[in-house]
């Protein structure tokens, strides 16, 4: 069977004119309320899954990166987050118990919480998983008038980014943010600046943070086996000594109880 193509987005700050169409399209498709008069002043929240920020002379989008090996999926104790084969990291809200470990774990600080509600849920972009299932592009990519947000197969987007580097010498800082970071993300960013200076987290290497946890969790069976044998052994030896003593009668200085 053919492996389904992993979809993703290519964000290109050199093409963004800061119209905010992506952010508004996101609100429209997710039926989210207006949170600010100026769409560029919006912050990520339980009511805003995608923002465009002016950083110096550039406009920069922030949204869920849809990691290849997502920390939230690994962290969630009830498996409420799912990485689907086609790319989106989606949320099964009926499973959530509200521990908020996903928010702690996410290296990009993306999951947001409905703090005001009595039965709160975690909220974030789902890469328009339902639109993808219908063969449509994400809302933001549909709305973007300049190609600053491009939708496609992740492999094709990487090729597209390299093609843009090649066709426009000197225009880009030739690094695809998200190609290697945290083991890769479905949302990729290219820019003439450094992503880390545009508000994206710095210091992320190619190891998915989830692997750091798995390494510790993988030791558990060994710890249990060794521990059980060790403790059982010590118990047997220590108590055997007493049994022998009881059978042979007490000797030595201290008389035993019983």
């Amino acid at each position: 069977m053919l492996k389904p193509q992993v979809k993703g987005l290519l964000l290109d700050t050199t093409r963004c004119i800061g119209c905010g169409a992506c952010a508004l399209a996101c609100k429209e498709r997710n039926k989210l309320p207006k949170t600010s008069d100026d769409v560029l002043k919006d912050e990520l929240s339980d009511k805003t899954y995608s923002v465009v920020k002016q950083v110096g002379p550039r406009y920069v989008r922030r949204m869920c990166m849809h990691c290849v090996t997502p920390s939230c999926v690994s962290a969630c104790p009830v498996g409420a987050f799912v990485k689907s084969d086609s790319g989106p990291v989606t949320y099964l809200e009926s499973r959530c118990m509200g521990c908020r470990y996903c928010m702690i774990a996410c290296p990009f600080g993306i999951p947001k919480y409905e703090w005001e509600k009595k039965a709160p849920l975690v909220r974030k972009c789902d890469l328009c998983a339902d639109r993808l299932a219908q063969g449509l592009k994400t809302g933001c990519a549909t709305a973007c008038p300049t190609g600053a947000t491009t939708f496609g197969d992740r492999d094709a987007l990487v090729a597209e980014a390299r093609e843009r580097f090649r066709a426009n010498p000197g225009r880009y800082n030739e690094h695809i943010y998200g190609l290697e970071e945290v083991g890769g993300t479905s949302v990729l960013l290219i820019s003439d600046g450094k992503a880390e200076e545009l508000g994206y987290p710095a210091g992320l290497d190619g190891t998915p943070p989830a692997f750091l946890t798995w390494r510790a969790l993988n030791i558990i069976p060994d710890v249990v086996m060794t521990g059980a044998v060790l403790l059982g052994g010590i118990y047997w030896i220590r108590n055997r000594r007493d049994e022998v003593e009881a059978a042979e009668g007490p000797h030595g200085g201290s008389p035993k109880e019983h």
Binding site: Y59, T213, L217
Partner: protein, 531 residues
């Protein structure tokens, strides 16, 4: 002990007054938590989603209950019978500790009614899942380990016999489960290498959490014995507690050596004396939790002194609490770009959890054979050390250097903490949006207006009309939102534009009103092409 103590109206003492006040505040805060949700009851934010309910109630709560598995392993597995008198109080405290942790969790969870989900919805990749299972199982094991006390009270000998047979298995299980989840509380933070400050983030976090939990197990047993002695006039003798102090000292040394090696290996030794908030609180943690108690425990005169041993143990407890708070709060603040100060409601709930713990322990100690007299008597002849008595030696009989160490550690830690908090500032986030107009020229080169939209023609229409983005959008400064922000969907329309209604204010007429744009008047030719 077997006779039911008479129920009497408790006398109103200072501490009971405090307890009552705390519980009243806790009750009030509980109502706020229920009626106003997490937003109303906490200072938690999207940037800082875990506060003291996780940092203290969960992380410290579980660690403080480590006496249970430490002591039961000592007695049942290592067969050090002389410690048997402490088993029951230690297991009771541990059991209460875990029940309180689970209770406190109900306040912190956004959807506490789903707390059982990890038991049926598995994610074996999650540390939280593993901890959830371990805590559930271990609380059950603790209940079983403690149940003989209850069965004794009601003289159920058959059940007692069964329990006696399976006890070693329960104890081994308990030790294994504790080892797993005590260390896993540290593993929580393995997944945030870029978020937790390097003074605390280490691949060895689970090892440190486990070692400090063991140390705390010894320290808590000493502290509890001292407090029980004062409260109930019954407890164990120094002969048992002094070796525990010695073990704690050994564990302190071991942890410190590993931690030093880890710091050197990761090259973060330089951060320890940096003038930062984190460094100050780290030093406070080391001073109060490691250096001071180690000095006290090294001195035999202090170690064998009831109050001296108690003070050393108390410092260890404070040190571990500070460590857990540093990991969960101090170390997470800088990367979050925000400052977290717990709300009064959060503090009230946390204090109430502690208060309920004291209350239930006191009640259990009163009505259940927690401190079994016959076992105390049957134990080895007790050598009461010089000056050791039921009430504890007066603090003034401690050697002066010991008092100096305690005072220095305490005030030093407070001073360091205060200095740290003074230094606390929000880490510089991404550069603030500057006033400079972005250079759009390059970006606009990519701007291509969408294709022409042809409208269906109404029967009375003078000719076909279409909408061209090119003539409506200023290509040098496109503003999509003037139309798309309000009336028109970005995501493609569901149905065709309604023929015959295009002139109304919801469509073309919205702008073509004679003010924003030319009005729709007698001349149809600007829009409708003559056929």
């Amino acid at each position: 002990m077997s006779a039911m103590p008479k129920l009497e109206v408790p006398r109103f003492t200072f501490w009971r007054g405090i307890l009552l006040a705390v519980l009243a505040l806790g009750f009030y805060s509980t109502i706020i938590r229920i009626t106003q949700g997490l937003a109303g009851a906490t200072n938690l934010t999207d940037e800082f989603p875990w506060g003291i309910w996780v940092g203290f109630d969960i992380l410290c709560g579980v660690a403080l209950a480590a006496g249970g598995f430490t002591i039961s392993a000592t007695v049942y597995i290592f067969n050090l019978e002389k410690f048997r008198p402490i088993v029951r109080p230690a297991i009771l405290t541990a059991f209460l500790g875990y029940v309180l942790v689970i209770g406190a969790l109900m306040f912190d969870l956004g959807r506490p009614w789903n707390v059982w989900h990890p038991l049926v919805m598995w994610n074996p990749h999650s540390v939280m899942f593993e901890v959830g299972w371990c805590v559930t199982l271990y609380t059950t094991v603790l209940a079983l380990e403690f149940s003989p006390v209850v069965f004794e009270r009601f003289k159920m000998t058959k059940t007692l016999h069964v329990l006696h047979v399976v006890m070693p298995i329960l104890v081994v299980l308990g030790v294994l489960l504790s080892t797993l989840h005590q260390s896993s509380l540290g593993s929580f933070y393995l997944i945030v290498p870029t978020k937790l400050y390097p003074l605390w983030y280490s691949p060895l976090l689970p090892v440190f959490f486990f070692l400090t939990a063991l140390t705390l197990g010894c320290a808590m047993t000493i502290v509890e014995s001292f407090l029980s002695r004062r409260a109930f006039g019954k407890s164990l003798e120094m002969e048992l507690l002094v070796p525990l102090g010695r073990v704690a000292l050994l564990l302190l040394a071991l942890t410190s050596v590993i931690r030093f090696a880890d710091f050197r290996h990761r090259g973060v030794l330089g951060l320890v004396f940096a003038p930062t908030y984190e460094a100050r609180l780290f030093l406070a943690e080391i001073l109060i939790g490691t250096l001071a108690p180690a000095v006290l425990l090294i001195l035999p005169k202090v170690r064998k002194h009831t109050t001296g041993l108690f003070l050393a143990a108390l410092l260890i407890v404070m040190g571990v609490v500070l460590n857990r708070m540093n990991v969960s709060i101090t170390g997470m603040e800088r990367s979050s770009g925000s400052i977290y100060v717990p709300a009064l409601t959060e503090i009230a709930i946390t204090l109430s959890v502690v208060g309920v713990g004291f209350l239930v322990f006191a009640l259990a100690a009163r009505y259940l054979p927690v401190f079994p007299e016959h076992e105390m008597k049957e134990a080895r002849p007790i050598v009461v050390p010089e000056g050791g008595n039921l009430v504890g030696q007066p603090i003034r009989s401690l050697p002066v250097p010991a008092l100096v160490v305690v005072a220095l550690a305490f005030f030093g830690a407070v001073a360091l903490g205060a200095d740290g908090v003074r230094r606390r500032e929000v880490a510089p986030g991404p550069p603030a949006p500057s006033a400079t107009k972005p250079e759009l020229a390059a970006a606009l080169a990519s701007f291509t207006p969408p294709a022409e939209i042809v409208f269906p023609q109404a029967p009375d229409s003078p000719g076909p009309a279409s909408f061209r983005h090119a003539s409506h959008v200023d290509a040098s400064a496109p503003d999509c939102l003037s139309c798309h922000g309000n009336t028109y969907s970005f995501l493609g329309r569901k149905e065709a534009p309604p023929a015959g209604q295009m002139h109304d204010t919801k469509h073309c007429g919205g702008c073509h009103d004679g003010t924003s744009a030319f009005a729709i008047e007698a001349d149809c030719s600007p829009c409708h092409k003559a056929e």
